[in-house]
Amino acid sequence: MNDVLLEMRGITKRFPGVTALEDVSLEVRRGEIHAICGENGAGKSTLMKVLSGVYPTGSYEGEIRFDGSPVHFGGIRDSESVGIVIIHQELALVPYLSIAENIFLGNERRGRGGLIDWNRANADARDLLASVGLNENPVSPVIQLGVGKQQLVEIAKALSKEVRLLILDEPTAALNDVDSAHLLDLLRRLRDRGITCIMISHKLSEITAIADSTTVIRDGQKVETLDMSSGDVTQQRIIRGMVGRDIDSFYPDRVSEPGPEVLRIEDWTVWHPVQPRLVVDGASLNVRAGEVVGIAGLMGAGRTELAMSVFGRSYGRNISGRLYLHGKQVRARTVAEAISNGIAYATEDRKRYGLNLIADVRANVSAAALGKLARAGWINGNEEIKVAEQGRREMNIKTRTVLDTVGTLSGGNQQKVVLSKWLFTDPDVLILDEPTRGIDVGAKFEIYTIINRLVAQGKAVIVISSELPELLGMCDRIYTLSAGRITGELPVGEATQEDLMALMTKEKELAG
């Protein structure tokens, strides 16, 4: 069992301004299931992209040895040629092509004259499907399959490439319990056939159930590799590795004096816009004036979906539940109604959903409350510039003038434009979704300071964040969300990262 298949040594990967991985080493033994754990943004996916050649040799430092000899990958085809296949969290199947076409995409079964030999392709596909325990007609289009079966098709596709090291990124994140169990069974069978497997997962129960070893990564560095074969490594033990760090004076001090309740939701339930599944399941929470409430949850827990569905039903369908503002039940069925009710939502992806990047700072700041600047539909352009200037001063937005294009600003300054925009709507509740994602340390501190100032003015703030230290440093109370359900509510004084992580990974009790 001590025969090493893959060895990554001293991997360091830098992006402009950020070190994503620092001196990470990883050893994977032949024929084992090796789990990789870490918080969102810890560097797991970056490490796998280095391994699979998405980031080619030369764009990182360090050495990769596969099966005893050093390897250099210029792209994903190179890594596949030695038998390393990665299956991404977002499935990469073409929905309208058949199962067989998908399996052999880019690796077609050629017959005479370079034409595709469909008989052979379909026959081979049937064998591959059988080996992953899927009883489907290879000519049926992939879109007819559920997510769980699509995952199996991905694995069949990997097998068709004579895989020796299979990498799965969050393979069960989108699966229900039955499909998850089925998939884990399959991974065990593949291990018995000699296929080595690396699995990135947030679901600690799965890791303790299936992994032979577990490597924990935190902030781009390897923390430890745990040998799971003895069976005495608990979920708590892994969590300690994932979060073990201190909160220091990184967060500006704030005196907390919560006032009356501003927003409350009860029994909030949201369905996925197209798939028949619950995304938010009976969530209830509240936030008071002058209070910062955090929502902690792993990727896919439904944090953004919860926030957006509250914000004028901008996500999901069949939304049910009650929304109260200042104790009165309100209906905010459109974004415009939500804004006029005093709700603001700053999105987690400011470039795609938050800003008009080709417009200037002024137009972005005024965009959500143009009506306040207009009489009978006509905008007072001077007043608008004044408002934008005010935002620029108060937020310390570093730009030459408010007529500069937002796309040219840095991430931190763009985020300040987003905040200025929402403050101009004069909200009572601000929902900030990953307010510090992708911005540098200095700008983070500024954003925290701004949040504290807003709270001091009596605004209610909800912060959604993947960074637990950030939540612990900023919030008065933290709700944990797991699979669309609120699994806990902790005052920040009593919460530890370990507690939160345990609640965030708490799964629904299996109902038989």
Partner: protein
Amino acid sequence: MTSTKPSVPTEQVSVDSAAAALHVGTSDPLTLIMRNLRQSGIYIAFVVIVALFAFLTDGVLLSPGNITNIVLQYSYILVLAIGMVILIIAGHIDLSVGSIVALTGAVSAVLVIQHGQPWWIGVVAAVAVGIAVGAWHGFWVAYVGMPAFIVTLAGMLLFRGLTMQVLDNVSLSPFPADYQKVASGFLNGLMGGQGYDAFTLLIAGFAVAGYAVSVFRTRLARIRYEQPVESFPLFVTRVLAVAAVVMYFGWQLAHARGLPIVLIILAVLVIAYGLMTKNTVFGRQVYAIGGNLSAAMLSGVKVRKVNFWIFVNMGFLAGIAGVIYSSRSNGAQPAAGNMFELDAIAAAFIGGAAVAGGVGTVVGAMVGGLIMAVMSNGMQLMGVDQSTQSVVKGLVLLLAVAFDIYNKRRAGATR
């Protein structure tokens, strides 16, 4: 995020220095031009093209009669381009406007020529039909969620076919004289004059005065808001330059046949839509939708409503263009307005509209349309044949959009 305490940025951009930069930026004409290269590039190109063809045609291009001609010949394209650029800013397009021009003209012709209705019935009916067609397109694009390209491609076929049915596949002409006046009428002789029309000059004078008053009031308002303004001499120079161009234009018209009614219609539309796109909530929402649809939705913009109304507006303007065109051609033909959509689209893009939406101006589209008009007219005067004209126009469109993409890449806005 580890135990080291991060350095909190102490560097602050001084508000004063930023304001100073703003001030310098707006009072220095060169910086002003460079900052707005995308827009000013078009104006420079326009001046160069006018000068080039004036030279090549020995000044005939700028002769009184010819200036009148250019206005009359291209007015309906310019009217269409107003609606088109608004659609393009929002990220849509309308391929059917040529067919709408034909249909609205046909409806008007049937009423006025066949049924002997008064001229204004024809005008009202044409505009109403245009609005109805626009609402039809708006419904499919905004509320069903179909791409405008497909909806209006279908509309192009659909309304061309309806035109043929309305006309029974034959041309109708001529219109009575009062209908013809819409496009080929002039306001002149109202105040007499010796070899020139005093009324035209008076209107031009009013236009200059109105412009001067409005920019001066804007300047005062900016000063009241403590915003930087251009230096006073520069301001006066700008007003005088505009006044000179307008008065020259008016002088030339006055020495030809007077003030074309079409020009009055066009001027009113350009001013109204120019202000609407720049200074109203609705206009801003159009830019917001084209710039980032998701961000617009999450800012409370009622995207569907806006999309619907800009198509209705396009239909309205196409109805007006239909009236102008049928009046000018003194009849309605089944094939009227063929390819007008392409001229209107080209005008918008040459005028600086971005293919991806979010960028463009009504005034820019007008200049874009005039560039094409001056080129066509100049080449006609020079006796260049149709095929060469088409080649040149195609290349100009290509270069204009290439310039736009180059500009964007330089600004680092492409991703």
